[in-house]
């Protein structure tokens, strides 16, 4: 499983360090959630309660904010979040074929994560690459003019990177 959960005291230390860096007020909430999500691919119940405690807000408020933003919802995600743009210009450029290829290659549907915890597949709303669609994001990286073939290559590169990291 891709997610890592921390021990309570270590978690608290991490969150406090983030607050130290970003500021004590509620304004730090989204950057903290983004950081946690990026590192641990999930924002679990313990983490949310610790964040709430450190920022002096209610846990349900942390949960509520995380649930609002497409890049922050707390459910566990794979190491590589693949977001395919579904909006008009990318649709015209052939996003459906890419979508089919991704599903076939990964063996999952959209809003699912592969069993090995490597990939999560999601739709994205317009990512601002309309002149070069179909566009997709893999974590923070953008890929343009994606074809079913290049989509498979992108996934393969991710797998290779994951293996290299393990080694």
């Amino acid at each position: 499983m891709a997610t890592t959960t921390l021990q309570q005291d270590q978690l608290r230390t991490e969150v406090e360090a983030l607050v130290e860096k970003l500021g004590p007020g509620r304004s730090s909430l989204i950057p903290i959630l983004a950081d946690v999500k990026r590192r641990f691919h999930a924002i679990d119940s313990e983490t949310m309660q610790t964040i709430a405690d450190v920022l002096d807000i209610h846990p349900v408020e942390v949960y509520s904010v995380a649930s609002f933003y497409a890049f922050l919802h707390g459910a566990p995600e794979g190491q590589f979040v693949v977001r395919l743009c579904g909006t008009l210009s990318c649709d015209f450029a052939g996003k459906d074929a890419v979508a089919d290829a991704l599903k076939a290659e990964l063996g999952i549907d959209f809003d699912q994560t592969t069993d090995d915890g490597l990939f999560t597949l999601e739709w994205a709303s317009c990512v601002g690459m309309c002149d070069q669609g179909p566009a997709l994001l893999v974590n923070d990286d953008v890929h343009t003019r994606v074809t079913p073939e290049s989509a498979r290559e992108i996934l393969a590169a991710c797998r290779a990177a994951a293996v290299a990291k393990e080694g």
């Binding site: 119940s45 309660q49 807000i57 209610h58 349900v60 408020e61």
Partner: protein
Amino acid sequence: MSNPTTPIHRAPLSQQHRRVITTTSPDAIGAQVSVTIDGVEAKVPFGVTILEAAKNAGVKIPTLCDHPDLDVAGVCRMCVVEVEGQRTLQPACTFPVVNAMKVNTHTRKVRMARKHVLELLLSEHCGECYSCVRNGNCELQSLAEEYGITEYSFGHPEEPMFETDESSYSVMRDMNKCIRCRRCIRTCIDIQEVGVLEAVGRSNKVTIETFEDMPLGTAVCINCGQCVNRCPVGALYAKDETDAVWAAIDDPDKHVVIQTAPAPRSAMGELFGLEPGTPVTFEMNTALRRAGFDKVFDTNFTADLTIIEEGTELILRLYKALVEKDESIALPQFTSCSPGWVKYLEHFYPEYLPNASSAKSPQQMFGALIKTYYAEKLGFDPEKIVSVALMPCSAKKFECNRPEMRDSGYQDVDFGLTTRELGKMFKEAGLHVPSLPKSDFDDPFGSATGSGVIFGATGGVMEAALRTVIELVTGEKVESIYDHGDIIPVRGFEGVKYAELTIPKVGPVPEIVAHLVPNWDWLNGATLKVAVAHGTANAKKVMDDIKAGGKFSECHFIEFMACPGGCLGGGGQPIPTSADIRAARARAIYSEDSAYAVRKSHENPAVLATYGEFLTEGPCGHKSHKLLHTEYTARGKHMPQA
């Protein structure tokens, strides 16, 4: 300190005040501005909302997400009106009158908007009026009727999408009926600072959930039911136990007794069309007997008993702390009769549980006594007694099911019925309470004092306690210090009240506590510092101050009530609620108090008889401790992973 209904920090600062004052024209603040509503001109103070201006002009603008106790939300869009010069319709609840403006409240665009808002809500609102707990008292139903909704233009769900959450003893949640007005959220976060509910998700998938969508019974909900009081529809409601109570009444084998608390008595009339604040105490006794209850008791009896027990406990704490210099004594002492407050303390400040009085609430004291003292005295088999309590409170349902509340050997109180539930039972039985003849409570617990009655209002427990403490310690009548014995400094709706009383002289130690303290000299000239907080957001302020070693840490006694207004604003009281309604109920309670011949707990003959016959070791004695005192559970605020 602020009014408990001045919300805290949740809303953007720009929305925290119902009047929006801009600074670009400081000389205009306080000035009058002309607003023409539907052709009729009026002058209103600078910065009031269109909604407020319309109210003054006698023009009704419909609202749904607006509530007098809460920050503005501006989400339902029911109150939109046309403002000349604005392209879009503006929500009357938040749009301020800052320069001369013309407003039209029922143009075609506005009427269409209202119709659409209601039809859209109905397209998602699954449930039928007939079987709904709010049938006849539902804001969505009323608006649909007023605004002529005759069809489901956008459909109506046949099947429920959500399972009702019935995990709590007190509050039930049915998301199928939720209209996403956010009142429950604003109540729980801003007014109560408990923070159990929030909007989750986005767009049409927004639901109101608990943390990780866990059952309400597992979350840090304190059962205060303030969310229920403010929900405009039937999405939130208190658990209904009337079927079980009817079953007990119908069972010839059962001896069904009911104790009634003062707060429901000042509000029950509202369920029968009376103005808030019209007490129906004695008519209700008749109604209860006709409904089939075998005995009708007055919770004021145990309210008075609570004062004696808790007052004695306070005296003992003070003696140990001030005279014996025992540093382990926890002060200030907190009242513990509000089960919502108790659970709040257990979750959020469990390290302060030693400060909570060990005395049970009047409801629970009564429960223990009925299945022991009463059963013995009148020869009833406690196994066959069904003990019901009429309470303004939803948390009482949780309280009577607490595992430790079985000191009689049985569940001490079987059912905590809300004002609303009993109103429903009366209606089912065709009993129109206001038109019934008056009748008295039953003995042996029939006598009450004014002190017991005022428990229903914030500051009431404190005042009752002070009346007794002052008289026991000084030997003087409290009327010699406070006019009519009305201790005004602890009355009223300010969120946190603070008072200091200097003990002017001391008298002999009365018999009832003579075995506990040798004399009162150690209190001669002492200044008693007390405080009163209502609504748990105010409780939080006081507790945080105590933690920080502030002014409240030096108090001796603090009354805490979970509900704004005290019990009269409880989660089981008639809906709707507002500051005006609560004030009216308080007036009824204080005027009942004035009318009583006996107004101090230690003068209640039934109470004295109980100590004479049954609790013979006196207050805080062994038997009292067994039956009338309890322990608490340090719960903490951590919520387990689902």
